[in-house]
Symmetry: C2
Subunit: 195 residues, 2 copies
DNA sequence: CTATATTCTTAACCCAAGTTAAGATCGTCA
DNA sequence: TGACGATCTTAACTTGGGTTAAGAATATAG
């Protein structure tokens, strides 16, 4: 299966993009590989591309002014869209950094081309709406994790729902994602051995 | 100014809905008043209406299975849209309760009518997109408050950004919204007197 | 204006996460 | 294999929120 076929299949699964609709977009997709630590988009940059991850893991993080600490906000992995959503849809500077945590491969499309596709086919409009809903769900899930769950519950849910991330990311990055310090995660893990 | 004019003006401000586009929607808007404690939408119900608050304050809350506690998720007040967004766009049962905290007046429209309007005018499509973006921003802001701010910082930002809510809602509801218990909020307030 | 309910604060104690620094473990590559 | 860097755990101590229950302040209604 070629990379283009992988993309076509994934877009079909995600938003019912059929062969004809995909054909419209074909000239616009570009391919890029990222080294470990390379940025997909940086703080204060406007995110101009929507990416589809063929392989690899990305993280979006915030740098706290006061503590100067990095706080992980989202992880994105294989067969998912990677984008700084708010920056992308409003074309305003981003508050976050999004970097590759591994060697990664991405197919990406420019916002102008995507906007063009919206006008050409309701399949692509549907895609746009589904990306918006996905972004909302991602943000809302994150809010709910913090509002309703303890760090220990968040840790267990991460393992259950995102084993791919848990297995490919150092624990100190996991801790940051869970909103706690590395020693706290160690204590949680130790506590849980008894259970 | 009639209530309809208020609505027209607000929709124009929010999404550039002009007189002609508003005219299309006019037959669909209905009016309802809510007593204190009355529900806009309940847990397990599908949210079928998008509301515009002419007057009053609503809260959306979650009931924690374990603690059986109510946890406030969002407040909605005058001149804002009130809706259980995820339930509304996916037409699936809601995880939350949304209730009126005061005597309130709402103009609301059924999802089927709104969908109809999407097809009739790009102004309404634009409105739909902006509601989606608003919902995303609301959820993302909430996630960011919990990921990056302390309870004290969240308290100060609530006062600064939403004085209308701060001034019209009992402190124990504020505490719940901030993700802490009432005694903790009291301690925070006490600490701050010195500053 | 008092009685009553609601809301807010306080106190005492507990517990989990933060902080800092040291040391253990793991991986990797020369 | 052995040494270095990266990652993970542990310890000791601090800090702030949770919990419970009591009491103070504030609204509201009769």
């Amino acid at each position: 299966m070629t990379e283009t076929q992988v993309l076509n299949y994934a877009l079909n699964q995600f938003a019912g993009i059929d062969a004809a609709a995909f054909e419209l977009s074909a000239p616009y997709w570009q391919r890029k590989t990222y080294g470990k630590g390379e940025f997909y988009n940086e703080y204060k940059n406007v995110c101009k591309y929507l990416g589809f991850i063929l392989d690899g893991v990305f993280r979006t993080y915030y740098i706290d002014d006061e503590s100067a600490e990095e706080k992980n906000v989202f992880f994105f992995s294989k067969n998912q869209v990677v984008v700084a959503y708010k920056s992308f849809v409003t074309q305003t500077p981003c508050s976050y950094y999004t970097e590759s945590m591994t060697e990664s491969t991405v197919l990406y499309i420019h916002i102008n081309h995507l906007t063009e596709l919206y006008g050409k086919s309701h399949h692509w409009e549907r895609f746009g709406r589904l990306v918006a809903e996905t972004a909302f769900n991602l943000a809302m899930n994150r809010a709910e994790e913090f509002m309703f769950r303890t760090p220990e519950q968040r840790y267990l849910e991460l393992i259950r729902n995102h084993p791919d991330i848990f297995n490919n990311v150092p624990l100190y990055h996991i801790a940051s994602y869970l909103g706690i310090q590395a020693p706290s995660l160690s204590r949680i893990r130790k506590r849980m051995v008894g259970k």
